[in-house]
Subunit: 316 residues, 2 copies
């Protein structure tokens, strides 16, 4: 089922606000509930299912026989607050976590069997684990740390400036496309670019055009077609506002790191796990897809999730 | 002395052109000549000297007792063609090398004792060594490879798009500043940003501002004040046009690589040295300054240059 709830939220940076939160809940009715939350451009539709058959953002992680098997789990997804572009104020990851808690109330879900968060979704999961530890049995945090790396923050700040440059006159989507293209460089790795875009550049209309530009054009256009500028800006900011104390997380937490992630370096996830103490454990993947490994290395991620989310008596 | 020569150049992508090439030549009159060429924003004034006392772009590498000692070496610098912004066509590194050969003719310098090139200057040095091997005794190529890495090319292409977006908005310098700010992220490392910009972000006028933004503002403003937009665009393109066959270099070449350089990865410089065969050797530095290590690790670079550029009977 899909739906939306109305909620009032005391936002950290913007006072009390009335908001709508849209969700999707699918899978076996009585099965344990797993919430799946992705990066800032993810949404409530995690994967195609019997009711809603359009492609989701984490296709390949959900399916029969997978750790996220709709026959054995109930899968909950939601649209981040701010994702509709209506809320033009600073949004904290703590605000998102409070919204999730209210959503669980509304749906009558006392406790999640698991919360699987990737990138921004992982940051929200940490806030939920700190503020409402009784609402989740375990947390799987993939490619997200207790605080943004200053280099990654600088990178995002410049992407927001590209949007602002576009907004100066009437090229807002042009600026958003450029921001997304720069972001793609942070999501992927030189290793992948080296393999895919090795061709010599061309001179087109007196200008040099390098091999990756067709790919980057497509990435920009695709993003602009489905993203509100304010949503991008406010959720990008939200990553930079995130700072939590790992010691405050009192829920068993599996941290999944990708070696070669240019946005969330392995060393920061090692610090996170150290801060978690006995509640934390770490799995490290090596992938040419860097920060996007969660979306690309679906078999390897599934094996990790199967282990983390299994029930007594289930074969992982 | 400073001067300029007029030259006619058969440019690879733009046909025959009349150009001016500006140079600076300082140091002991009869000493061996070392040409020093830097990145795309470097110029003919390498360092302050007795005649021209303003700061140069490689201050700290030149001085009494240094490998680049004006009492024992004659130091030649030049402005890259295109650096004045007058030449709005694709510029190849081979074009630059031909211009250098004509400059050596004009100055009556038969053979350089050494050519020290950093970043773009290294690419030009390789072209000189291929096209005019008799004009240089040895080449020191720092942080420059036989071809650009596809990931770095993509990064530069997006910087050029930031300029184009600014031009569309009648905010040309705004676009150039943003391009430079993105470039700074490629010149430096997460390690350095992690140490310098660890402070929490602030919310200023309803927008999130991260710790590195003051630094990035200053870097952008400083660059815009001294750089013509066309010069930036055409020299940035020129890096992406560069492709040479290392086996064609028939001059002893020392390649200096910086581990952690995000623009010119160590692995590409290892390939370059492999291609050079017996004529090549490699030195690797580890530095938190990444691609900019040449400008920052001046003592370590000096030690390498002292060794590479010493004369028989000199103590390095």
């Amino acid at each position: 089922m899909r739906g939306e709830i109305e909620l009032r939220l005391a936002m950290r940076h913007a006072g009390e606000r009335s908001l709508r939160l849209r969700y999707e809940l699918v899978g076996a009715a009585e099965a344990p509930v797993v919430l799946v939350a992705g990066g800032i451009s993810a949404h409530r539709h995690v994967a195609a299912n019997a009711v809603f058959d359009e492609k989701g953002w984490a296709e390949g992680l959900v399916g029969v026989g997978r750790a996220l098997d709709p026959q054995r789990r109930r899968l909950l997804g939601f649209d981040f607050i701010g994702a509709d572009g209506e809320l033009d104020v600073p949004i904290d990851t703590a605000d998102q976590a409070e919204a999730v808690a209210l959503l669980l109330d509304a749906l009558g879900i006392e406790r999640l069997h698991g919360y699987v968060g990737y990138s921004y979704g992982a940051l929200v999961g940490m806030q939920l684990a700190i503020r409402h530890p009784q609402r989740l049995h375990r947390l799987v945090a993939v490619s997200g740390a207790h605080r943004p790396h200053p280099y990654a923050s600088a990178w995002r700040a410049l992407q927001r400036r590209a949007v602002a440059l576009g907004q100066l006159q009437c090229a807002e989507t042009h600026g958003l496309a450029l921001a997304r293209q720069f972001a793609m460089l942070s999501y992927r790795t030189p290793e992948e670019f080296g393999e895919r875009f090795d061709a010599a550049p061309e001179v087109v209309n007196g200008r040099v055009r390098v091999a990756a530009e067709d790919y980057l054009d497509a990435a920009g256009a695709q993003y602009v077609a489905r993203t509100r500028v304010n949503a991008y800006l406010r959720l990008s900011e939200s990553i930079d506002l995130h700072r939590i104390d790992p010691a405050a997380i009192d829920v068993p937490t599996l941290v999944v790191a990708v070696e070669g992630d240019r946005l969330v370096p392995l060393s920061d996830l090692v610090s996170l796990v150290e801060g978690l103490g006995t509640r934390g454990s770490l799995r490290v993947l090596r992938s040419p897809y860097g920060h996007d490994a969660f979306l690309k290395e679906t078999d390897r991620i599934d094996a990790i999730l199967a282990n983390a989310l299994s029930l007594p008596g289930e074969t992982a």
